[in-house]
């Protein structure tokens, strides 16, 4: 069921960029603050900043849930490698972070193998079920009514997560598969204490989850929302995990679990068939990479639109001496916002499932294109969004995805981002399998048949997920990162890279710096006239900077926090982890 392609860590497109890119400015770290009068002889922990990374010597796991991170760390300590730990953490997140961690969703795996110096990209994105018929949702006006497949079994794609994790294990795993699944099974069976954040998420999704008896059974407590401190047990999910641990992914992709899942979906009005599952394949993709200020940045290729956009923005930015601009000031953020406009505009066009559409990646990532785009940016004025590119309708993008990063004691690394689409995905638990399905069918274009991301049976819908790995100028592992956040993903990752590479920040400070997000098109709201999207800023950005941005012509708007990056930096022989505080419960666990 796995399709293998020859490994090509240096794809032509990236190679071309590498060859032709113009020289870049070096790193310009901030002037370090004067040390205290008692400078530490070991400079590992200094009190010169507000935020500190979690330090580790041998291995570290950073995820959006502390328990899941600890499970991954235990796997490392038992002799598992980064892939083993990533798999165990991902299974645990399906239990502890049910809004985004999953068995019934999909994602991307980026793995760095130090001994070979190679990076593998596995695409286990959801695919459209063969029997999904968009025509059946065409309304009286001839428009396909997405609201009719926004939630519930009909909204689900063919899940990829379990196949993806199993494939990663077959290629790179070291410990027995069952050992990687067992901790999650135990958590599901014995239950987890409901944290304030989990209670909040379950509460918010209460209306959706109570629409389906199977979901009500799984995620409500005798019909009531779970409260802080109560115990959430997931026996059906535990049973699914037991089967997966015993039989591998085969149980879902045609075996016992899959048959039960398909039966439930069909009974409840979905179109998923057993053949969708048996035909599902994990794809190995050629990793995208570019050289940014002497660092080699690797990210996820299509069907992610994220990686290509990230590299495109980095290529544009390399034409500017970003590190010389005062960090966090209007000049710095203005430049980022302008680059983000271009990135977001391009991301909408020409990207989709490479198995179904011809993608113009080479042109997009060429030095010439970057230079052309860089010339359009003015340092003294914000460009009108409407002038950036012709408009395309937006796709709804959820912030509820989740990312995890792992580095092991051999220096191998994994960046894994996976998702259910919306928070709790379709909201539909497939019968007695305990498996929440995603609602990824929303992520195709339906009214633009020529678009690279237009719907087709069996095709994978575009995603923005951008697991990213950076090697330093000496070719050593430097950074592992990624984030949820829908369209914000690329911009959050971009800001991590800029803070780490251009400004030389440690990974905790790079994570905590206030973020901005410039989209290129706002979601239309009914018949209201189209509004160019504002420059979104987190509330921690100083009003002084905001005013300066407004003076440059930006319309600035304070929004919810942007992203939830889970990152690891390798520095001075230490592993430094930073769990994003933007979502509670995230944690770095190292040893």
């Amino acid at each position: 069921m796995i399709e293998r392609r020859p490994l090509r860590p240096w794809p032509f497109t990236a190679f071309a960029v590498l060859l032709f890119m113009t020289a870049c400015t070096g790193r310009a770290p901030e002037t370090p603050p004067p040390a205290g009068e008692q400078p530490a002889t070991t400079a590992i922990v200094q009190y010169d900043k507000i935020h500190h990374p979690q330090l580790a010597q041998r291995g570290i796991v950073v995820s959006q849930n502390a328990r899941a991170s600890q499970i991954g760390q235990a796997i490392l300590a038992r002799g598992g490698n980064a892939t083993d730990a990533a798999i165990a953490t991902a299974f645990a997140l399906a239990v502890t972070l049910p809004r985004a961690g999953n068995l019934g969703g999909s994602g991307f795996y980026l793995g760095y193998e130090r001994s070979r110096g190679s990076i593998t990209a596995l695409d286990f994105r959801s695919a459209a079920p063969a029997a999904f018929d968009p025509e059946s949702f065409r309304d009286a006006d001839g428009i396909i009514d997405r609201a009719r497949f926004r939630f519930g079994p009909i909204s689900a794609g063919v899940p990829g997560t379990v196949a993806g994790l199993h494939e990663a294990w077959q290629r790179h795993g070291q410990l027995p598969w069952a050992e990687l699944v067992a901790p999650a099974e135990q958590l599901a069976r014995e239950g987890i204490p409901v944290s304030a954040d989990l209670a909040f998420a379950l509460n918010a999704a209460n209306g959706l989850l109570r629409q389906y008896p199977s979901s009500t059974a799984a995620y409500l407590n005798d019909g009531q929302p779970y409260r802080l401190g109560e115990r959430l047990q997931q026996p059906a999910l535990a049973e699914a995990l037991r089967l997966i641990g015993a039989e591998g992914s085969a149980t879902l992709y045609g075996g016992t679990l899959g048959q039960r899942l398909v039966a439930a979906v069909q009974r409840d009005g979905g179109v998923l068939q057993l053949s969708d599952l048996t035909r599902y394949r994990v794809r190995e993709r050629d990793t995208l990479s570019t050289r940014y200020r002497d660092h080699e940045v690797f990210s996820m290729p299509p069907v992610s639109g994220g990686g290509a956009t990230l590299l495109q923005m980095l290529n544009i930015l390399s034409h500017f001496e970003l590190g010389t601009l005062p960090r966090g000031g209007a000049e710095h953020l203005h430049l980022l916002a302008e680059v983000m406009k271009q990135g977001a505009a391009s991301r909408r066009s020409g990207l989709g499932d490479p198995d179904f559409a011809e993608l113009q990646l080479q042109e997009r990532l060429s030095p010439g294109a970057a230079q052309r785009w860089s010339r359009l940016i003015r340092r003294d004025r914000a460009r009108a969004v409407s002038k950036v590119q012709p408009l395309l309708p937006p796709l709804p993008e959820s912030r509820d995805t989740t990312h995890l990063s792992v580095v092991d004691s051999d220096g191998n690394a994994v960046a894994l981002t996976y998702t259910l689409g919306y928070s709790f995905g379709s909201g539909y638990v497939a019968g007695d399998t305990g498996i929440l399905l995603d609602n990824q069918m929303l992520n195709f274009y339906y009214d633009e048949p020529t678009h690279a991301n237009a719907f087709a049976p069996g095709k994978r819908m575009m995603s923005t997920m951008s697991p990213t790995i950076v090697l330093d100028p000496q070719g050593q592992l430097f950074l592992v990162t990624g984030t949820p956040g829908g369209s914000r993903i690329v911009n959050a990752v971009l800001q991590i890279l800029v803070n780490a590479i251009d400004y030389g920040l440690d990974i905790a400070s790079a994570t905590q710096a206030p973020r901005i997000h410039q989209n290129w098109q706002a979601a239309p709201s009914g018949d209201a006239p189209w509004q160019p999207p504002a420059l979104q800023v987190e509330r921690t950005l100083s009003r002084d900077v905001r005013k300066a941005l407004e003076a440059l012509g930006h319309r600035v708007e304070t929004t919810q926090t942007i992203g939830s990056t889970q990152s690891i930096m390798v520095r001075g022989g230490h592993l430094e982890g930073a769990a994003d505080t933007r979502r509670p419960d995230a944690r770095a666990a190292g040893y």
């Binding site: 530490a40 500190h52 921690t540």
Partner: protein, 586 residues
């Protein structure tokens, strides 16, 4: 869209009860605690909360609460545990302050267990033959140690307000000292930074070094058998286990052999003082804070009073206008601090006048919204000396609504560096908090007047500011910080961020801090002030200086139902540990 629904739902569900009502000063309602508007979230508990600078100590406190102990039981257990796991500041050989709010009576009391000058201390004891301050003797000698107060203070709190037997609250600390615990990077780095100081005496070398002369490293298990023995003596005999008998003799002998002053008589005579709290009001909150010999509470209230004349909320929390206003208020308060404060048992502190609204109104008049007043225009002064950071604060609340805010210290990191031979604990160098030569700056750059001159039995001036904010008689914020002279401004900013700017207690803790202490005439700031903000402050006439991070606030908010803990990210290893109704802590 899903997110918007989410946030609306939640704002309806979790509206924090400590809402500030709008006032003339223009405050805003506090935000619900868990919302994704803020990058920072407190830890939430249903049955209580313990926040300290070391995870192990916080867990000790939470376990005491889970066993049915009250906030004082837990606070005493945390105090002893920190003496084991945070050797640079947690202590048996130092002193501090504890604020206890009792839910049943609604009263808040201040326990002052600050060190006292030994009977043999004199006003000129730190001057050399030429009348100059002998800096090494002032800071790092046996003479620099005051008579320790921590053990007496913790035990008095336990016997007066606690419910559990002494042996139970001391047991976790004894176990940690005896069985040992794994050193983290933070402690190992702090030890390495004081390598020279900690290698001055055989007992210190034995405690912090391997036999081969290498220092303890991160990841190693650290056992402290002598300290365990001392703790056991305290468990068995109470304060006499420390202030009389073997431990007292060990201290006195080491003093006698090394030109120190503390005698067995000094130890036996040590008394904890119970003082009425200093009170203030800010935006509808009652402020209960530490009275003299802390200068912290008085000047905290003074600054809050001054700032209540300015619309901070309208200015915005991270703006030059707001930082400027704070800096100007800080200058005025620190200029007063240099003259007026000392041990109230020895000097009539004009506390009422300093904390009066009338005086604050007059001071507020002197603040120009666009221009920094030169320090020299406020009062004459002299230049600075370096700064120290190492004290520690912890906060505890229990399900009944009892609250404890404790700040205690060895003064400098690892105090005077002297480990009492055979007893396993470090002594303080609190005598350096007296003015060695009144009129000249102390090691913190602060100018002490005669009110703070050395006298036998006297307590040195301190800036420690354990503070409890109440609303309608109920504690809603328990806070405090280490940071030497920066403690007061650190606590001030945590309170302002919550009360004036409506931040949740965690966001309030993460926000960048500034500090101005009148002399030197510098506006210190942490990384994180935006370039535009810095430029504006410079245009107002401030001289900016980027400094090490400021303080380490360990705080708890309470809405009457849930507890919201925040551990300061500035010192790695701090942790808020909640207690949950199901029993056990997640």
């Amino acid at each position: 869209m899903a997110d918007r629904v989410l946030s609306m739902l939640v704002s309806a569900l979790l509206t924090l009860a400590l809402n500030a009502t709008a006032t003339a000063a223009g405050t805003q309602d506090l935000q619900p605690i868990i919302r994704y508007e803020s990058p920072y979230h407190p830890v939430v508990g249903t049955r209580g909360m313990v926040v300290s600078q070391k995870a192990l100590a916080s867990q000790v406190g939470a376990e005491i609460l889970a066993q049915g102990g009250n906030a004082v039981d837990a606070a005493v257990a945390v105090g002893f545990a920190l003496a084991v796991v945070l050797p640079r500041a947690g202590n048996l050989g130092g002193g501090g302050f504890m604020l206890v709010h009792l839910a049943e009576t609604g009263e808040t009391v201040a326990l002052d267990f600050r060190e006292r000058a030994p009977a043999g201390a004199t006003r000129t004891m730190f001057l050399d033959a030429d009348g100059n301050i002998d800096q090494d003797r002032y800071r790092f000698s046996h003479r620099a140690a005051g008579v320790p107060g921590s053990v007496a203070g913790l035990l008095l709190a336990l016997s007066r307000y606690g419910t559990l037997p002494r042996g139970v609250v001391l047991a976790p600390a004894i176990t940690l000292a005896e069985k040992g615990f794994e050193l983290d990077y933070d402690i190992a780095s702090a030890m390495a930074a004081r390598r020279e100081l900690l290698s001055r005496t055989p007992a210190s070398r034995a405690l912090f070094f391997h036999p081969d002369g290498t220092m303890l490293r991160a990841g190693e298990r650290w056992q402290q058998p002598d300290l365990a023995q001392t703790l056991r003596r305290i468990a068995a005999a109470g304060r006499d286990g420390f202030y009389k008998g073997t431990v007292a003799r060990l201290i006195a002998e080491d003093m006698a052999a090394n030109d120190g002053l503390i005698t067995e008589a000094d130890l036996a005579a040590y008394e904890v003082a119970t003082r009425p709290v200093t009170r203030g009001r800010y935006l509808g909150y009652d402020v209960h804070t530490m009275p003299p010999p802390s200068s912290g509470g008085v000047h905290l209230v003074q600054m809050l009073n001054i700032l209540s004349h300015f619309p901070l909320a309208d200015m915005g929390p991270r703006t030059a206008a707001r930082y400027h206003t704070l800096a100007e208020a800080m200058k005025l308060a620190y200029a007063d601090r240099s003259v007026h404060l000392g041990d109230p048992d020895y000097y009539a502190v004009p506390e009422r006048w300093l904390t009066s609204n009338r005086y604050a109104a007059a001071l507020a008049q002197r603040i120009d919204p666009q221009r920094a007043t030169p320090a020299a225009d406020i009062a004459p002064g002299t230049p600075p000396a370096p700064d120290s950071e190492d004290t520690t604060h912890y906060s505890v609340m229990d399900a009944q609504g009892n609250a404890v805010a404790t700040t205690y210290t060895l003064n400098f990191s690892f105090g005077n560096g002297v480990v009492v031979p055979g007893a396993g604990f470090l002594l303080n160098n609190e005598m350096a908090d007296f003015s060695a030569k009144p009129g000249e700056p102390d090691p913190f750059g602060l100018i002490g007047g005669t009110a703070n001159a050395v006298e036998p039995g006297k307590r040195p001036l301190s800036a420690m500011t354990p503070t409890i904010l109440l609303r309608d008689g109920r504690p809603v914020l328990v806070t405090g910080s280490p940071g030497g002279s920066r403690i007061i401004t650190t606590v001030l900013q945590h309170i302002l961020n919550v009360a004036a700017h409506g931040m949740n207690p965690a966001e309030a803790n993460h926000a960048p801090r500034i500090h101005h202490q009148w002399q030197p005439d510098l506006l210190y700031h942490e990384p994180g002030l935006s370039p535009e903000t810095r430029a504006k402050l410079e245009a107002f006439g401030h001289t900016l200086q980027l400094r090490t991070s400021m303080g380490s606030v360990q705080a708890i908010a309470w809405d009457g139902e849930r507890f919201y803990g925040t551990a300061d990210p500035r010192r790695p290893g701090a942790l808020a540990v909640p207690v949950m109704h199901a029993g056990g802590t997640p």
